[in-house]
Symmetry: C2
Subunit: 670 residues, 2 copies
Amino acid sequence: MSEKGWSQLWLDYASKAGKDSVNGIRMGNVNVDIKDFDVDNRVIESAVKELNRAFCGDNDKVKVTLVRNKEVAKEGYRIGNIIGGSNENVAKSDAPEYVIEASDENGALYGVFHLIREKLMGKEYPNICADCAPSNPLRMMNHWDNMDGSIERGYSGRSFFFVGDEIVVNERTVDYARFMASVGINGVVINNVNVKWAATDLITTRFFDKVKELSDIFGDYGIKLYLSLNFASPIELGGLPICDPLDKDVINWWKDKIKEVYDHLPDLGGFLVKADSEGRPGPFTYGRTQADGANMLGDIIAQYGGIIIWRCFVYNCTQDWRDTKTDRARAGYDYFKGLDGEYHDNVILQIKNGPMDFQIREPISPLLGGLTKTNQMLEVQIAQEYTGHQIDVCYLIPMFKEILGFKTYCRDDLDTVADVISGRTMGNKYAGMAAVINTGNDYNWTGNDLAAANLYGFGRLAFNTELSSEEIAREWVRLTFDLEQDLEDKLVDMLLRSREIYEKYTSPLGIGWMVTPSDHYGPSVDGYEYSRWGTYHRADHLGLGVDRTDKGTGYAQQYYSPNAEMYNDPKTCPENLLLFFHHIPYTWKLASGQSLIQYIYDSHFEGCAEAEELAETWKEFEGKVSDRTYACVSERFGRQVYNAREWRDQVNSYFYRKSGISDEKGRTIY
Amino acid sequence: MSEKGWSQLWLDYASKAGKDSVNGIRMGNVNVDIKDFDVDNRVIESAVKELNRAFCGDNDKVKVTLVRNKEVAKEGYRIGNIIGGSNENVAKSDAPEYVIEASDENGALYGVFHLIREKLMGKEYPNICADCAPSNPLRMMNHWDNMDGSIERGYSGRSFFFVGDEIVVNERTVDYARFMASVGINGVVINNVNVKWAATDLITTRFFDKVKELSDIFGDYGIKLYLSLNFASPIELGGLPICDPLDKDVINWWKDKIKEVYDHLPDLGGFLVKADSEGRPGPFTYGRTQADGANMLGDIIAQYGGIIIWRCFVYNCTQDWRDTKTDRARAGYDYFKGLDGEYHDNVILQIKNGPMDFQIREPISPLLGGLTKTNQMLEVQIAQEYTGHQIDVCYLIPMFKEILGFKTYCRDDLDTVADVISGRTMGNKYAGMAAVINTGNDYNWTGNDLAAANLYGFGRLAFNTELSSEEIAREWVRLTFDLEQDLEDKLVDMLLRSREIYEKYTSPLGIGWMVTPSDHYGPSVDGYEYSRWGTYHRADHLGLGVDRTDKGTGYAQQYYSPNAEMYNDPKTCPENLLLFFHHIPYTWKLASGQSLIQYIYDSHFEGCAEAEELAETWKEFEGKVSDRTYACVSERFGRQVYNAREWRDQVNSYFYRKSGISDEKGRTIY
């Protein structure tokens, strides 16, 4: 257990080396040679320091050569080992020797972390060869931390960036940067996209010094700091009467402000903006387009090398539930598709993976690839807002893999989401992936120790979208724990099954939203049914689901052919999205031969039983992981099982009471 | 408009006298003669002062003689007029002359306020004869004000007693005491029954001085101050490990504490205690009974003349919704009936009007009269927690009249709730009525100006339970406004209809609880259906309602015969409580010939249409009431109409979607 008050996650060198203290740096184990890099460069310094921390065991001698090689891809690296490996001819006393080639400092640092990862996993070490280039140019974490220390949708304690409207910079900040860099993250937005109160002042002299401190720490690990921006800053900070993006005074105010910001924060990556959404101000107020708003800021920030990341989460959040024509799922495409090609080069649209809001199952947003002339970035959420609040285990990488692998049909080849958001499809420079992060100041960073698999996994996947869910899970398990093979396999299996289990006991077949309003944990089948949020299941005594076909809201037509046709027909629509696209009678026969209502019953009984199995399996880990981890995860499994039972019984009772159709298997429904 | 920042409610002397300033005291108008009362007594002084304030107009000359007469009932008064009246022989220049007889100072004060009321109503004045005695010995207001200034279930701004954990005493406090005394209130609990944080300290030196100031102001108007008590005070303040009411150290701690309290607050009326309820500490923790807890405190406080008011709102608030045997409605009777006769003489049980929690329609609590050897007090709620948040107009006096008139059959005569809680049934000394008050620091005290009718009405009704709802409404309208007869009639009519209208558009036939959880405003039909609060409607595709008969939870059997039999049979059960006592099919024929489902549709369409009518009628009051009042009430009517439509459409859609039965009249259901 770390003495620091926070764990070392997957970089627990001391524990892996079998030592008591953490980060005890044993000098002399590591011999680093640096060629064509500036030895005083801060990222190179961090890389060297990290090698020294990692190779801290008594038998951890190693020689590493860092070489600049312009042929290596941007932020990529190559590793070869010269001496060592499984070659038995090498004397045991010889330190293994590696060459890490990279064209830039970040690449060198990532190469070092690759080497450390292999060492910590203890398999095949020291026989390492690698040739890696990041799949995505931008690999970002979005913190929804508020300056009062609260975290919107945070399930792991309070913010470690902000306390009482002040910025905190300490040793934990450095560890945070190390962990992020170790999985290839190169951008972090430190504050909530809903920019309110003191957070508006982050771009003022009140906070410049502290933001600079943070930015410098990030910079040491190759990470750019970004800020979420209040679009109404000209009003709130500048005292102007409006924030119309085409108004000269507004533009001039921004010019001065952004100059001032870059005078103080020369390394700033840019700004993230949530405009015209859920009550946030934006260009719509002045009859301007989203492009007007984004381009104005983009043009000003361009000279400083900054970018504007503009969120596409724009929809009418005061819908009348009686209105079956308006469809929130359509909103992103309807608002943004028409402006395709109008966004300037340093503006990038950040698009949530689905058209709704991070449900356990949604179709892929039709904006991804729907836009063909616009920089775009995929936004996912590892904060488990709708997926169990880091109480329930829900390893999300399989979901992200599905998203990345989705064929958009935006062109004949290179048309998957992974292609589009990496820049491969359009050959654009600004592209990538962002995750709403799941961290807080809990000892273990992520509330549930097992939720760290998503933190680790997102970074790894953003860096290399070709990795499989299992590879990532296995890496994380090996790095984090020290388990025998059978338990390692079990834990990997638990993670891999967890998303499907969560899906089974919650809302069926892509309909989503049957959660407790506001809080978003636990069931409330009608909780959002009569609300203003555009989130309805339309269940009646005959069936449920939303007709989003060409006879309904027309949402399915936002996809390219043949996806549009596939979704439009309930017979070809993937069954796990059936209720997202169609209003289906309870008696509808699924491919399995089950009726829809029987599927609802069966999947909920199964999902709950499987959650109980997970909890039961976890008991085998007692004494095999730290007592703290065991207790923390056990406590959460207890709550997950309770939650799964509530979901099972409430969903089943709701549909039984509504349909009047009994469970074929005669199980208890209330 | 008052310059003070708060209105003068029904005592707006200046406005009634046609003057600009408020409370301008014109000396010399009033000639007061005092016989057998101490002229320096503070209550008598207040009475004289009030006469001088009230008779402030140019033609308001009056002569009043206050006479002590021991034959008049406690706190009662008699008024006769000697000169004046409609006798035309009396010269116009002669001041009218009244004699007010009372046996105590409170009676004299109430007589004065009676005289003032008649003067302000301007009808029949100055021909006044009265012989009044209060129906109930205790007539109390319960504030749910927290010391941070928030008010639990407050809809009229913040507390005027507490700001930032400090007690506020100012001119508004004096006006508050005047208004309460003017309607006969003689006891006020200043702090929330959920006693937390700083409020626990109200019985410590930290607050004694300020509480004493408040108590003195109240005392000037014949009002005793009471405090809500934290049963865990021995732990939280005393540092004891327990608060077991039978533990010697705990008892000694309370002895010392209560002595200390009365040393500082000699006029304190006593304590109100919410124990073992909704997470509050209590005797159950130590395996003791509610009587053990209450009697321990009662015995200690007796020597100071204090009383212990013990709330009966005890139930299991962590019920499993799947459990259809447990019935929250039963809880009060189950917990308290067995202890009947065990409570000491200065302990009084405070019983909510219904077995659940202040719903728009509930049966009468079977504890009222169910207890025959225990002091008991009726608790109602004029804070409109479930009845429209002082946004929707809901004049509650008709509900209270029904409650008071309910025949409990606890004996052959004198068996109504009014008899029981007045002390007439048992001949006991401590009895009465308490209301959870609806005030806050809004200008108009009650959020909606029209909600003041409940504030006024509760006091008047507690003083005289024989007054009709219409009499009280008319008094309040005349005192508050200055309307021509037709508008007066319209406003009285609006008030009298308002409760039924609210009931129609919200939850049907006594089932209750279809409200937004926590907030309790607006519909959420399933909001409490799968919760832990014991609040279910059990609707399925065939019908709804809770079986509380002898075949169900047995709740109906808690009543005396013939009420028990009446409620037990759906054919004799009052239809407005049908779903409270029975699970009824949608096709059930009501007395009107309507099916249950058709009744649900019809009543919701009607209720909503009638709410719209109320709002429409209010438009006639423009220019007839102050602009401030008109705007305030208009704004709230707008929200009421919106609310009523949401209720109508959500309830109707919910039951249509569940039952599949169409509206016979083909109206729009979603």
